[in-house]
């Protein structure tokens, strides 16, 4: 039996007073009654906190993180556009609003760590280093895509970058990540595995079975719940008896943290702590990162279940805007710098669209390749 | 639900069938596809299969009796089901048929069958040989119920045969229609083919006897055999049911001379050169001897190509000219006759024709011809030379336009170049359907025929 190592639940939000998380977890009409002055206070606290964090990260990393966040945002906007043009088919789950989570967590990784996520995977693939060209071509169903056009939006993979995929069944990637962590420990390395899932996956057996085994066998896996508060159209409150996701870890004696997902540096810091547990003690962690998707669940989601006011309130705390403003305040970014970033991103996204457009469709024989590694020929 | 079993249609020309043998008796369980009875059709003996599962409750037609297509021959139902209604219905149908005149009956049934697909030619309605020959109930009954033949399509004569058996039979040239399957529902299976291959000709008499319940009816003559003369008193006689084949011959022949205006053209042919050529050919290949008749078929086919009007068919509103000569060759059987067809005889050598005629005749005698092998000729040849007949006229086999009656080749003294010499003379008579073949047209055909038979080298000229 492993020793219990329980990090106090929601350490920072509780110590730092009113929490956005607590607020949004309430019923919608309650939230709509939030005192604007109180909200202003909270925003100010967050603001100060991020400024403090900025001091602990080198400038190059900071600007790279901003760049990646902008890249995801513009890439997803382009994806939405391409989807409406019929260039992208099927399901297309956008990451807009949640950029701080992927960028914050993954910026803390080493290249030899492993990452798995759900079907909302464009952002993770981009941050893991899969080129926008390959991601966009995959969305377009072209041979130039990272999965040769056979996986699509939900199934981006990049084995070389240790990105082990976007997975389509809610919670399905959680046992897989547990197995990857099992393998790294089996081999005696100090690699960590990060697995992302939405809060709805927490209700799946796969989540609980995995957390149990991970803590039981001390597996170096970081379970990251991107709590965007809606499983498709069903709010957390309507689907979960105890809606504090991080509290689920208590049942398994696992360390857990609650993190503000609109603050990229808070996310990064929490991930660093979890990674340290993983590398040094082979211990798993559960991070609940409270975030918000600005778009529908997928491109086909009309979004009637949320109010305009709710979305707008979160847009005020748009993680890119907040991070950019704070960098300016610290004198690390100016108009020219931002313009330069936007320019580079635009070029990269345009290039990706062009690449995807021009990439050929998979040839018919691709239908029957990659089914078996050792096909038995007759 | 009880089901009526009707006389099925088992060949393209069949209008009635003789129930030669019941394979099940009343009270037997039957299932779909199982053989119920052997039916003697106009050309072959085939099996009628059950189209329903249950118990054979009632047999309505005794063995040996002939009924038209669609006539109810039995009833299949549940063991305890009340079928009296169906039995009454069936017997009422039969009784009605007995009473009514064929003409009335036809009128009555006409509207119902107006759109029924029909293989029947109009001529076939013109008379019924059976009624002429046999003063029993079968005759009048035949007609009304034959009209119901339009909905008697259910008995489609479909063979049940396993794939491997079908393939083996095709390879071995075995006609599946002549086999009785030993598998479930009479399915012809591999071992049936193996048995047939092994038995070869030994298997044939069996088939034949089944097909031929009246073996005394051995004569081809279409007239009922007269009773044997007793010493005194009323002449004793013996009465036999008309076999289906006999009935078909009878019915078809009255559709010939009656509705078709025949003209007959006779000519005499000097056959010496042909006879000589035949002798030479047979010396070359004594294994496969050809007959004079084979030459006649060959030359007739050749001549037909030059005289398309003779190789034709009157179709009421159109005249159909055939583009090849499919020559029917009349073959006498023990109890009838059949006309297997040499297809495209115009393209075949005398030897080929000879082999084909022998093979077809052999199978015709064993009643193993498939329907497509004895239907659809464009012209026929009938040769009674071997019976010493010097000259005769044949009846056209509709819808063909002509038939050639060939007599015996006879050494005859003739005058040639002022001298009396002996020549082999053969008389042939062409019967022509005057609606499309005029005297001169027929005569021109005969001229060509005569010219070539007298100088068979023309065949290769």
């Amino acid at each position: 039996m492993s020793e219990l190592k329980v990090t106090p639940m929601r350490p920072r939000t509780q110590s730092e007073g009113a929490s956005a998380g607590a607020g949004v977890a309430e019923e919608r009409d309650e939230r709509d009654r939030i005192d604007p002055a109180e909200l202003q206070d909270e925003h100010e606290q967050r603001h100060q906190e991020q400024l403090k964090h900025i001091e602990h990260v080198d400038n190059e990393t900071l600007l790279k993180m901003l760049y990646q966040m902008v890249l995801i945002r513009r890439f997803e906007e382009k994806s939405a556009e391409s989807y409406t043009l019929g260039k992208i088919g099927g399901f297309c789950h956008l990451y807009i609003g949640q950029e701080a989570v992927a960028v914050g967590t993954l910026s803390a990784l080493r290249p030899d760590d492993y990452v798995l996520t759900s079907y909302r995977d464009h952002g993770h693939a981009l941050v893991m280093g899969t080129s926008p060209d390959e991601v966009m071509a995959e969305l377009y169903g072209k041979i130039g895509g990272c999965s040769k056009g056979k996986g699509g939006s939900m199934h981006l993979f990049d084995a070389d970058k240790h990105f082990l995929g976007g997975h389509g069944i809610v919670g399905g990637q959680i046992p897989l990540a547990t197995g990857v962590a099992y393998a790294t420990k089996y081999r005696g390395t100090d690699q960590a595995t990060l697995v992302f899932f939405g809060e709805a996956a927490v209700n799946q057996g796969a989540f609980h079975e995995s957390l149990n085994m991970a803590q039981l066998w001390k597996l170096p896996c970081v379970y990251i719940c991107e709590n965007n508060q809606y499983g498709m159209g069903t709010s957390l409150k309507r689907a979960m008896s105890i809606s504090d996701v991080s509290q689920k870890a208590v049942a398994y004696g696992m360390a857990a943290e609650f993190v503000d997902g609109m603050d990229v540096l808070a996310v990064r810091a929490a991930t660093e702590r979890a990674l340290e547990r993983a590398r040094k003690e082979y211990l798993p962690s559960l991070l609940e990162i409270r975030t918000y998707r600005f778009m529908g669940h997928s491109m086909s989601d009309p979004g009637h279940y949320r109010t305009r006011a709710e979305i707008e309130r979160y847009q005020e705390r748009d993680p890119i805007k907040v991070f950019g403003d704070n960098l300016r305040e610290k004198g690390l970014l100016d108009d020219a710098g931002l313009k330069e970033i936007e320019g580079r991103v635009r070029a990269e996204v345009e290039h990706a669209v062009k690449f995807a457009d021009e990439s050929p469709e998979p040839p018919p024989e691709e239908l029957f390749t990659d089914i078996y590694a050792n096909p038995i020929k007759k | 639900m009880a089901t009526q079993v009707v006389m099925p249609k088992l060949s393209p020309t069949m209008e009635e069938g003789q129930l030669s043998r019941w394979l099940k008796k009343e009270g037997d369980k039957v299932s779909v596809g199982e053989g119920l009875a052997e039916i003697d059709t106009d050309k072959a003996t085939m099996e009628a299969q059950a189209l329903a599962t249950g118990v054979l409750r009632k047999i309505l037609v005794p063995e040996g009796e002939t009924v038209p297509l669609g006539a109810i021959i039995a009833i299949i139902g549940e063991p305890d089901e009340d079928i009296s209604g169906l039995v009454t219905e069936a017997s009422k149908g039969a009784a009605q048929a007995e009473k009514k005149e064929p003409v009335e009956e036809r009128q009555e049934s006409q509207p119902a069958k107006s759109d029924a697909p029909s293989d029947y030619q109009p001529g076939q309605w013109m008379g019924d040989t059976a009624s002429a020959e046999q003063p029993t109930k079968e005759a009048p009954q035949a007609q009304p119920q034959a009209s119901a033949g339009g909905n008697g399509q259910r008995g489609d004569g479909r063979l049940i045969v396993s794939p491997i058996a079908a393939r083996m039979a095709a390879d071995a040239g075995i006609n599946l229609h002549n086999l009785t399957g030993s598998g479930p529902g009479g399915r012809i299976v591999k071992r049936d083919i193996e048995a047939a291959m092994k038995a070869g000709s030994a298997a044939q008499p069996q088939t034949q006897s089944a097909a031929q319940p009246q073996e005394e009816q051995a004569r081809p003559a279409p007239v009922q055999q007269p009773a044997v003369q007793p010493a005194g008193g009323a002449a004793p006689y013996r009465e036999e049911n008309v076999s289906t084949m006999r009935a078909t011959i009878a019915r078809r022949l009255v559709t010939s001379l009656g509705p078709i205006p025949h003209i007959f053209l006779t000519t005499e042919i000097e056959m010496d050169r042909t006879a000589e050529m035949r002798k030479q050919l047979n010396a070359l290949d004594p294994e496969n001897k050809v007959s004079i008749n084979d030459f006649v078929i060959k030359v007739a086919a050749h001549a037909l190509m030059r005289h398309p009007a003779v190789n034709a068919s009157f179709q009421e509103k159109t005249i159909r000219y055939y583009e090849r000569a499919d020559v029917g060759v009349a073959v006498a059987l023990e109890n009838g006759l059949i006309t297997p067809v040499v297809r495209a005889a115009n393209t075949k050598s005398v030897g080929q024709i000879s082999r084909e005629v022998k093979e077809l005749a052999e199978r015709a005698r064993n009643r193993k011809l498939a329907p497509e092998e004895y239907t659809g000729a464009t012209f026929s040849v009938s040769n009674l030379g071997m019976f010493g007949i010097s000259e005769f006229t044949a009846l056209i086999n509709p819808p063909e336009a002509c038939i050639l009656a060939v007599g015996a080749m006879t050494p005859t003294p003739v005058v040639r170049d002022g001298e009396v010499v002996v020549r082999q003379l053969m008389k042939v008579t062409l019967s022509c359907d005057h609606r499309i073949v005029d005297g001169a047209t027929g005569a021109q055909f005969l001229q060509t025929l005569k010219k070539i038979l007298e100088n068979p080298l023309y065949l290769i000229a």
Binding site: C146, K150, P175, L176, A177, G179, E209, Y372 | I164
Partner: protein, 322 residues
């Protein structure tokens, strides 16, 4: 049989450090059916791992470990419990390679007893081969002899694709010669003619193979020569060997303990029809488990499964002997 399976795992674990065994009661308890007896002692608890009763979880864990190069053997105490893990087997293991455009190999074996046991009723007596064989991306193996069990399991462990390895509880005690060589492998996808014959082909697998062989002996006395074919691998299926046999015998009986409906027998029938239609002398005859959940009562259980007598009868039927 259980010893043969044990040897196969032992040899492969010695041969490759990446092979590990995980499942319920595989280690300390020595395996619910003693198939993993002695492995914990030899390889330690890192490589022979008792899992919690959490089939979905450890099946998925195995797939994840396979994605990064280990060769897990995941034991289901019985395949009845694999039903809980089908999401990971079908959605993850079977499709990972394809969805990623060939970036991953999934060298994993899911093994355990499949099909009926003795009087354990409906939830513990199910033959699931057709479920798994349905999906491209999986391989499905069903050995019927100890030697095949060993050779096939070794091949399965060395294979780079997910293999569903279906054993049979009723057969664990079966005896047979088993080669000792380290490299004794039975290739996947190759059927075996267990007995040659000329009159009728019986395609049997797993527990129906010994039944078919007994039936063949019985039928020989009756003058019927039966060929018994064991496909051994359901997917990929060696249809060629079966078709060649059918071309020779013209008749087929398929004996299986699974349900007939949408079963492997149905697939075999279809393929035989597609490839050997012209050679059939009788419709393909399936002799399958009853179309009912498995009953507990001994007499009913016996009725629900194919037996020697029924195989004999089926062969006679397609040979038109009754």
């Amino acid at each position: 049989m259980r010893e043969a399976l044990n040897q196969a795992m032992r040899e492969e674990m010695r041969r490759d450090e990446g092979v590990f065994l995980m499942g319920e009661e595989v280690a300390a308890y020595q395996g619910a059916y003693k198939v993993s007896k002695g492995l914990l002692e030899e390889f330690g608890d890192k490589r022979v791992v008792d899992s919690p009763i959490t089939e979905l979880g450890f099946a998925g864990l195995g797939v994840g470990a396979a994605m990064v190069g280990l060769r897990p053997i995941i034991e289901f105490m019985t395949f009845n419990f694999s039903i809980l893990a089908t999401d990971q087997i079908i959605n993850s293991a079977a499709k990972m390679r394809y969805m990623s455009g060939g970036q991953f190999k999934i060298p994993i074996v899911f093994r355990g007893p499949n099909g009926s046991a003795f009087q354990v009723s409906s939830q513990h007596s199910q033959a699931l081969e057709s479920w798994y064989a349905h999906f491209p991306g999986l391989k499905v193996v069903m050995p019927s002899t100890p030697a095949d069990a060993k050779g096939l399991l070794k091949s399965a462990i060395r294979d780079n694709d997910p293999v569903i390895f279906l054993e049979q509880e009723r057969m664990y005690g079966n005896k047979g010669e088993v080669p000792d060589e380290e490299d004794f492998l039975v290739p996947l996808g190759v059927a075996d003619v267990k007995r040659e014959g000329t009159d009728c082909t019986v395609v049997a697998r797993s527990m129906t193979v010994p039944l078919a062989l007994k039936a063949a002996e019985e039928l020989e006395k009756q003058g019927v020569s039966v060929e018994v074919i064991d496909p051994r691998t359901i997917r990929p299926l060696d249809i060629e060997t079966i078709v060649n046999s059918v071309k020779k015998t013209n008749r087929v009986v398929i004996a299986e303990e699974s349900h007939a409906f949408c079963g492997v027998g149905a697939e075999l029938s279809a393929q035989i029809m597609e490839h050997a239609f012209d050679y059939l002398d009788a419709p393909v005859k399936r002799l399958s488990g009853a179309d009912a959940p498995m009953p507990y009562a001994k007499n009913l259980e016996r009725l629900a499964l194919p037996d020697v007598e029924r195989i004999v009868k089926a062969v006679r039927e397609v040979s038109y002997l009754d």
